[in-house]
């Protein structure tokens, strides 16, 4: 009897140990209860997904619909009112070419708007903790609240490039990557956030964007030229005023195209220059590789000649998406939890020990509240895409427009550290990191610390967190005892 009595508690312990190995007792009912989620449903960035994760866009899509409507209406009017006359009088090739251009424009627009621009997925809690540890070791663990400056220097083709640490994504950004404050994602080879296409333009969709603006330039010039031709030909027969009475739509088309041509053709020319020198809009605006910064300053990413640069940008290999939108969330692998009320925090369904490691990091984290009211007004005006389509046409080259929608551009490097200290010392008053803040701190959507703490409580479900924590602690204790 004694032996059995002794054996029972041992068996109990063994049973718990076995259950820790495969899944904690708390987890199995949890897994059974919740249906499998797709990764896009748990995506931490500020993106909208459609068609079950196949389509990915930025949160603000109003301007994209405007773009679409303008293109559709102008082209529609052209095909309806001008093409019949022109195909009869001149050649039927006109509507055919127009049709091809129109389809190409729409295709590239959709491709640019709906695809993943090259979003870098956020670090798992393990990686974040590991990086944190490395930073502490490298800088000598600093006691007190001032965190050390988080930059890494790397030499690329003879040029020293500074890699910045992204506080939101908890990674050191690869070279040429940037964090888009509107989409709240780090994007590889970040060019700019284009409100006209309703998405960021980055490594994976830059070629589509370029082909969109190029084909749109051709389409605009094409429509403009042939509408003018149409009006002139008709005026010869009927007189100008009668022509206007017969085809009022032509006037509208001419006006739209006239204003578009300057901005879109200008933009195409600018991006042609960028492609040939292998720079991003971000780098050009910051003047990262300009010779004005220093005699030895050159672009380390350029392949040397224009042809290779163009080929690389337009015909190079297309890397696959790193975020796997349509994959299923594995409850075992730690995922950054989706933001509720716009808070970006990390959580995992097991291994609370990792949470414990990551918590010190999180306490100093800025919390981003969704504050859409303050942003939209700026985005439609800002960005290098401004002046692209007829909003009164701003044909000024992008270098002169304030780059509000792109981050990481406006703050000079030497100020970054001081800004970081300033923001971190405050008690969670700021809500965008210095890297992400595209404008002076006064513009940031700030809230009170009270609001911050309320939203955290709203996010956490204390009961489930405690039981999971308890369980994993029990599991750890059992493991260590063996």
């Amino acid at each position: 009897m004694l032996q059995l009595g002794v054996a029972e508690p041992m068996r109990e312990c063994e049973y718990s140990q076995i259950s820790t190995r495969s899944s904690t007792p708390m987890e199995t009912p949890y897994k059974k209860r919740t249906p499998k989620k797709r990764k896009w449903q748990a995506f931490p960035g500020r993106n909208k997904f459609y068609c079950n994760g196949r389509i990915m866009m930025a949160r603000q899509t109003g301007v994209f619909y405007l773009t679409l409507v303008l293109i559709l209406i102008t082209s529609g009017l052209f095909f309806t009112f001008d093409c019949p006359f022109l195909s009869v009088q001149l050649t039927p090739a006109i509507p055919v070419i127009g049709g091809v251009l129109f389809v190409f424009v729409l295709g590239t627009l959709f491709r640019t708007s709906f695809s993943d621009p090259g979003v870098l997925p956020r670090a798992t809690p393990d990686e974040a903790a590991d990086l944190e540890r490395q930073i502490d070791v490298a800088n000598g663990s600093s006691s007190g609240y001032r965190p050390p400056p988080r930059t890494k220097e790397v030499v690329i083709n003879g040029q020293t490039v500074k890699l910045k640490y992204c506080f939101t994504c908890k990674i050191f950004r690869p070279p040429r990557a940037s964090h888009c404050s509107l989409c709240d994602n780090c994007v590889e080879r970040f060019d700019h956030h284009c409100p006209w296409v309703g998405n960021c333009v980055g490594k994976r969709n830059y070629r589509f964007f370029y082909m969109f603006i190029l084909s749109l330039s051709f389409l605009t010039i094409f429509i403009f030229a042939f509408v003018i031709t149409h009006v002139i030909l008709r005026s010869h027969r009927q007189g100008f005023l009668n022509t206007l009475k017969d085809t009022p739509a032509s006037v509208l088309e001419v006006v739209v195209c006239f204003f578009s041509v300057w901005s879109i053709v200008g933009l195409s020319g600018f991006h042609t220059y960028l492609i040939s020198s292998n720079q991003t809009t971000n780098e050009d605006i910051k003047g990262s590789w300009s010779s004005k910064r220093g005699k030895d300053n050159y672009n380390p990413y350029s392949h040397g000649n224009i042809f290779t640069n163009c080929c690389a940008a337009l015909c190079g290999p297309l890397p696959p998406s790193l975020i796997d939108r349509r994959g299923f969330v594995q409850s075992d692998t730690p995922q950054p939890t989706p933001p509720t009320n716009g808070i970006t925090m990390y959580g995992s369904t097991q291994s609370q020990s990792h949470m414990a490691a990551a918590t010190p990091l999180m306490q100093s984290e800025p919390v981003i509240l969704t504050d859409e009211a303050s942003l939209p007004g700026r985005t439609s005006l800002g960005g290098p895409c401004s002046g692209a389509l007829p909003l009164g046409g701003q044909p000024t080259p992008p270098t002169s427009t304030p780059n509000l929608s792109c981050d990481n551009g406006m703050l000079p490097t030497r100020n970054d550290h001081s800004e970081a200290h300033h923001h971190m010392d405050g008690v969670h008053h700021h809500f965008l990191t210095p890297e992400e803040a595209p404008s002076p701190p006064g513009m940031l959507p700030c809230g009170s610390p009270l609001g911050h703490s309320h939203t955290i409580q709203g996010f956490y479900n204390p009961a489930s967190q405690d039981s999971l924590h308890e369980d994993s602690v029990r599991g750890l204790v059992k493991l260590s005892s063996v």
């Binding site: 032996q3 054996a7 041992m10 063994e14 140990q17 820790t20 190995r21 495969s22 190409f104 295709g107 491709r111 870098l120 997925p121 670090a123 798992t124 393990d126 990686e127 590991d130 790397v154 030499v155 690329i156 083709n157 490039v161 890699l163 990674i171 050191f172 690869p174 070279p175 040429r176 590889e188 080879r189 082909m211 380390p300 990413y301 290779t308 080929c311 690389a312 337009l314 015909c315 190079g316 290999p317 297309l318 890397p319 696959p320 790193l322 975020i323 594995q330 075992d332 692998t333 730690p334 097991q350 291994s351 020990s353 994993s472 599991g475 750890l476 493991l479 063996v482």
Partner: protein, 171 residues
């Protein structure tokens, strides 16, 4: 030994409480995908340096092959553009093909070299190409020890029961 490693996926899921060693990206060559070949000190007792370096170098070669800009990739790009990228509905890009090859290579390396040494490599694509993560498996030791303690307990039980029987017979 074979039954313990037959399902690497299970091992991976259950190794969540184990330690992980991360190999970061090496950006000295620009934005192309390369991983640092520096041997991490945590793996010193687990795996021999040449094996580790061999694996990482091979991975770097594969990634360089995926991102290589040559005749084939240009042709693919132009063809795709000409077909309005619809061709990718029927065929895979070269990059995706190489990624599959990398996945198979990592699986093979895990089975042959790393799992027997108590390590598991995670494919970098699952970590957004940021790191190559090496999971140090602690639980296998626990497994073996569990079985041993269980065997010992069973043996003791049997001995005690036998002794009792002997005692009772004597009485």
């Amino acid at each position: 030994m074979a039954t313990e490693f037959h399902n690497l996926q299970e091992l991976r899921h259950s190794a969540s409480l184990a330690n992980k060693v991360f190999l970061q990206r090496d950006y000295s060559d620009g934005t192309t995908c390369r991983f640092q070949t520096k041997f991490p000190s945590e793996l010193e007792s687990r795996i021999e340096r040449p094996l580790f370096e061999d694996t990482v170098k091979r991975l770097n070669i594969y990634y360089a092959e995926a991102e290589k800009m040559g005749g084939q990739s240009y042709l693919e790009g132009c063809l795709a553009c000409a077909t309005a990228y619809l061709i990718f509905l029927c065929m895979e890009t070269r990059y995706e093909k190489v990624l599959k090859k990398i996945g198979r290579y990592i699986q093979e390396q895990n089975e042959k070299i790393y799992a027997p040494r108590g390590l598991l490599i995670t494919d970098p694509i699952e970590r957004g190409m940021r790191v190559v993560s090496f999971q140090l498996l602690l639980l296998l030791c626990v497994c073996v020890r569990e079985r041993q303690t269980k065997k010992n307990k069973d043996r003791d039980e049997e001995n005690n029961i036998d002794r009792e029987r002997v005692n009772s017979t004597h009485v």
